[in-house]
């Protein structure tokens, strides 16, 4: 191949990598139920063997393509997926697609808000702590994050729920909006949704900050000794510029990478947080689906959340290319 402009080569390589991973996820979702022991339709017969009409069973097998050979099943599965057909919820008898459409936006809202808040907080706190290493603020940041980081998100969220309940319910403890509310204006609606977001976002964002702030702090500490920092200081540049333009931008790189690495943790954390605060996102969907072993729903939630994680990773990779000029030519 001739010498191509490098950005497009990088973009193509990224695309190939993510295409491959998406394919792996789809094949996994296809293979999982088939690799598991037992007949996927056994639950129908297990409860009450006489109640199932053989004709109905046959129809179901045809609908899910279970009467074909494995390769044919994969084709059938892909064709259905291509049409956005994710099957029917066993527990609730509605298309899984409708359930996803109702629940996914709330999770994306929760994840987006938590990620934005935690990124700003981790960056600012980490920079400030690393800049003044060993001072009281630094010690507080290190101690608090070490104490909070090992605590699982569901325990952290439960503690926040307790705190919210005990302090007299200043904030709503559950749901995404006030039931049966009539909003006078769109702003009132936004305010209501925001109030319901406060506790869930606090829970998820504090888990994220606890695991990221030390990374920013440590990178900050290690950049302080670099030659370009000494030079910038010798030039007499204002400290604020030094801290954020010179040191901060470098501290940003490992931080951005860690956001990609933690995307899976973020999604799992959102699932837990939602089940604590009855937030109507994917977590609540998962909770109900687990209770009724609603396999099509669980499969679809895994597929959707895996795609969210992959998208986030792709975004991080693209952002990294913009932040670090070295990555563009690499």
């Amino acid at each position: 191949m001739g010498p191509l402009p490098t950005p497009s080569r990088r973009a193509r390589r990224l695309l190939a990598h993510y295409g491959l991973t998406v394919a792996a996820v789809v094949v996994l979702v296809f293979a999982l139920p088939r690799a598991m022991p037992g007949d996927p339709l056994a639950f129908l017969r297990a409860d009450n063997p006489e109640s199932v009409d053989p004709a109905v069973l046959h129809d179901l097998q045809a609908y899910y393509g279970l009467d074909r050979p494995l390769v044919g099943q994969l084709g059938h599965f892909l064709a259905r997926l291509g049409h956005g057909d994710l099957g029917i919820s066993i527990g609730r008898r509605v298309p899984v697609r409708d359930l996803l459409q109702a629940h996914l936006p709330w999770t994306l809202l929760l994840i987006g808000a938590s990620l934005a808040l935690s990124s700003v907080l981790s960056y600012l706190l980490g920079c400030a702590a690393g800049w003044r290493r060993g001072r009281p603020l630094d010690r507080l940041v290190v101690m608090a994050s070490s104490a909070v980081r090992p605590i699982p998100t569901y325990a952290l969220a439960s503690l926040l729920l307790l705190g919210g309940a005990v302090t007299g319910r200043l904030l709503p403890l559950g749901g995404a909006r006030t039931p049966f509310a009539h909003y006078a204006s769109p702003f009132a609606e936004i305010a209501d949704v925001a109030r319901h977001l406060v506790l869930p976002v606090t829970a998820l964002a504090s888990a994220l900050v606890a695991s990221q702030v030390l990374l920013v702090r440590n990178t900050m500490v290690s950049t302080l000794g670099q030659d370009y920092m000494v030079l910038a200081r010798a030039k007499g540049l204002p400290l604020r510029l030094l801290q954020h333009r010179h040191a901060g931008r470098n501290a940003l790189l490992p931080f951005v990478t860690s956001v990609g690495l933690q995307a899976g943790f973020l999604v799992g954390g959102a699932v837990f947080v939602e089940t604590v605060f009855s937030y109507p996102g994917m977590g609540t969907l998962v909770l109900r689906a687990v209770a009724s072993r609603d396999y099509p729903v669980l499969e679809a939630t895994f597929l959707a959340l895996a795609l969210v994680v992959l998208t986030l990773n792709l975004f991080v990779d693209l952002l990294y290319g913009r932040l670090d000029p070295r990555a563009r030519t690499g």
């Binding site: 792996a24 598991m36 090992p150 605590i151 933690q262 687990v290």
Partner: protein, 287 residues
């Protein structure tokens, strides 16, 4: 104090963590002898407060929460051994083979690792767990299956540079047996990585087991700290009385305390591993 002895020391924070962990291990081992009731037994009135009969009160159907908390400690210990140990074992084996062999083996293994690492672990384990009987052995298998790549990558990174190291190449060149090379040259360097990895894998496994129970993936005949929390949160009137104090708070405190204790031990091991890493935590994906 000799250098060796000093290296073996955990430091005050690490010792405190080790004490907490030891306390939980004792409770878990002695659990069946200490527990006054069976986990599912209706041992008292609903929502009894703490008393001499029920140290941690009862839940909304009158089950004794002391017994359930002890069973939860035991579940955590079993998971720590089976899932935590299994995860590190599989991860270390795969990572060591990939790092030692290098070449095509290495890149094939790491490609698999990269794909598994990018999958969201909790939703994946929920899908896997929903189709089996979620006993402790089944859950452990699932946790190992999803978690090993984290540790394969860790161990591979530790083993990879060894192949080029002069002392090891010399030992191999002088005809040292594989066992001898491993014992005298590899283990002293990789040993601490393995211990740090084991602690981290145990932390992760305990957090995940309670988390999956929290989502309802639990065998109804057993108790887990996660399932106690879930029962409490599902009870509509939890905050109408004081019952949250003895029902929701103790399991949350137990899982938090145990994991913070383990993390304290882990941090002091890591600090000895590389003093430059002091207090730096690797990016984790634990539940």
């Amino acid at each position: 104090m000799s250098r060796r002895a000093r290296e073996r020391r955990l430091g005050p924070a690490g010792l405190m963590g080790a004490g907490v962990v030891a306390g939980f291990v004792l409770l878990a081992v002695a659990g069946p002898a200490l527990a006054p009731y069976r986990v599912t037994e209706l041992a008292g009135d609903p929502l009894e407060g703490p008393s001499l009969h029920h140290l941690f009160g009862t839940n909304s159907v009158g089950q004794d929460l002391t017994s359930q908390l002890l069973a939860g400690a035991r579940a955590s210990l079993v998971i720590a051994l089976l899932a935590g140990g299994g995860t590190l074992l599989l991860g270390a084996l795969v990572g060591a083979v990939a790092g030692w062999r290098g070449g095509a083996t290495d890149s094939a293994v790491m490609r698999v690792v990269d794909v598994v690492l990018v999958l969201p672990p909790i939703p994946l384990m929920v899908v896997l767990g929903a189709s089996i009987d979620p006993g402790l052995v089944g859950l452990s298998a699932i946790i190992v299956l999803v978690s090993w790549p984290v540790y394969a990558r860790l161990v591979r990174a530790a083993v990879l540079p060894l192949r080029r190291r002069a002392d090891i190449r010399a030992a191999v060149g002088f005809g040292a047996s594989t066992g001898q090379v491993l014992r005298t040259h590899v283990l002293p360097d990789v040993g601490l990585v393995l211990i740090a990895g084991l602690i981290s894998a145990v932390e992760r496994a305990i957090a995940i087991e309670a988390g999956l129970a929290f989502l309802g993936l639990v065998n109804p005949t057993r108790a887990s700290w996660g399932s106690i929390m879930r029962d409490a949160l599902d009870f509509r009137g939890l905050f109408l009385t004081d019952s949250w104090r003895w029902w929701l708070l103790p399991p949350v405190a137990a899982v938090a305390l145990l994991l913070v204790g383990l993390a304290l031990v882990g941090t002091s091991v890591e600090r000895r591993l590389d003093p430059r890493l002091a207090r730096h935590q690797p990016v984790g994906v634990d539940g």
